[in-house]
C-alpha cells in the first residue's frame, strides 16, 4: 500500500464518520445555544387572511390579487435575478450530493441503506449549475460596489470552500486534470471540511435561517406583514 493509498484509506473511512459526528453534534449544540437566546416578546398573531378561510370566493380572489401585488415590495420583487439564482444554488447544493449515485453506492456499502439517485447526466448538470452560480456570486462580490463594501476575504474563502467539493468531484468523475486518486482525495477532504465547518462558521445560516423564518413573529413567519421590532428596555 502506497502512502497515497494510506491517506485515502484514512480520509475515506474514520474521518468521514468523525466529520459526520462533529456535524450532527455541532448542529444540536448550536441549536440548543440558539434556542436559549429566544425570548417571547409578544404572542404570535395569525393574519386575518390565514384565519378566515371560509370567506367568499370573490373576496378570496381579491386577497390573492392583493398579495400578488405586494410581491414587488419583497426581496423577490426588488432583486428577482439574485433571489432566483440564490434559490437554485441552494437547492442544487443540497440535492446534488444527497442524490448522487456514487454517494448512494457508498452509503449502501456502509450501512446497507441508500436513497434514490439521479442519473449521471442529471448530476453533472446540477453540479455545473452549482459551479456557475458560485461563479456568479464571486463576480457579484468582486464587481458590485454595494457587496464589495461589506466583503471580507473570509467571505470569498467560504464561497471557495463550498464550490471546491463540487469542482473536484466533477473533475474526478470525468478523470480530468489530476489523476483520479489524488482528485478524489481532495474531493473527500473538502467535503469533510464543509461538514465540520457548518456548525461553527457562517454556514450556520443553514440552521439559523429556519430560526429566523419561523420563530421571529410577524412578517418572517405567519403573522401580519407589519414590522414590529421589540426594543428591549436597556439600562
Amino acid at each position: 500500500m502506497t502512502f497515497q493509498d494510506q491517506i485515502l484509506y484514512i480520509v475515506q473511512g474514520p474521518i468521514v464518520w468523525i466529520a459526520f459526528m462533529i456535524f450532527v453534534a455541532g448542529i444540536i449544540g448550536q441549536t440548543f445555544r440558539l434556542s436559549r437566546m429566544i425570548r417571547k416578546n409578544q404572542p404570535l398573531r395569525i393574519s386575518d387572511s390565514a384565519k378566515t378561510v371560509k370567506n367568499k370566493k370573490k373576496e378570496r380572489w381579491q386577497r390573492w390579487m392583493h398579495h400578488i401585488g405586494q410581491v414587488k415590495t419583497t426581496m423577490i420583487g426588488t432583486s428577482p435575478f439574485l433571489t432566483t439564482v440564490s434559490i437554485i444554488f441552494h437547492i442544487c447544493l443540497f440535492i446534488t450530493p444527497i442524490f448522487l449515485m456514487g454517494h448512494n453506492v457508498l452509503l449502501k456499502a456502509a450501512i446497507g441503506l441508500s436513497l434514490p439517485s439521479f442519473s449521471e447526466p442529471v448530476s453533472d448538470i446540477l453540479t455545473l449549475i452549482v459551479l456557475f452560480c458560485g461563479l456568479f456570486f464571486l463576480l457579484r462580490r468582486l464587481l458590485l460596489r454595494r457587496v464589495r463594501i461589506i466583503t471580507t476575504p473570509y467571505d470569498i474563502l467560504l464561497l471557495l470552500v463550498v464550490v471546491f467539493p463540487f469542482f473536484t468531484g466533477f473533475l474526478a468523475h470525468h478523470h480530468l486534470l489530476l489523476n483520479y486518486k489524488l482528485m478524489i482525495m481532495l474531493h473527500i477532504i473538502s467535503g469533510e471540511l464543509i461538514l465540520i465547518m457548518i456548525p461553527f462558521s457562517k454556514f450556520f445560516h443553514m440552521i439559523f435561517f429556519f430560526f429566523g423564518r419561523f420563530l421571529i413573529v410577524n412578517e418572517y413567519s405567519l403573522g401580519l406583514p407589519k414590522r414590529n421590532w421589540q426594543f428591549q428596555t436597556r439600562e
Binding site: M75, T78, R146, V147, F204, H205, F209, R213, W229
Partner: protein
Amino acid sequence: MAKKNIDTAPIQKILKKNKREIKLGLKVCAHCSLCAESCFLYQATKDPKYMPSYKFINSIGRLYRKNGKLSRGEMTKIRDIVWHDCVLCSRCYCPFGINIPSLIALARQACRTQDLYREYDKEPTEG
C-alpha cells in the same frame, strides 16, 4: 464639553451585556447586501454607506471586534454612521432576521456614553 479620550469601561459593559446578540448578528450576516433596498436612504441615494448591514458592521461590529478600544476619531465616525446615516426607523429587513435596528441602537448607546450625539446645529453630511 465633549470628553477628549475614550472611556472604554462603559462601552465594554454594553458589549459584554449584549455579547450574544452582537456575536450572533455578526456571525449570521452573510454579507449578501439584500437589506440595501429596505433602507429608504439607500433607495434615495444608491450609496452603499446607507446599507443597513454596512451600518451595523461598521458601528457595533467594529466596537465589538476592537472590544471598545477605539480612538476618538474612530468613535466620531461611528457617531456619523449611527446618527447621521441612520434615522432608526426600524424598517430594515434582513432575510435571516437579524435585528439590525437593535444593534444600531446599541452602537448609539455606546456613543452616548462618550458624549457623542447627533449634532443638531450642523448640516447633515452630504451623501
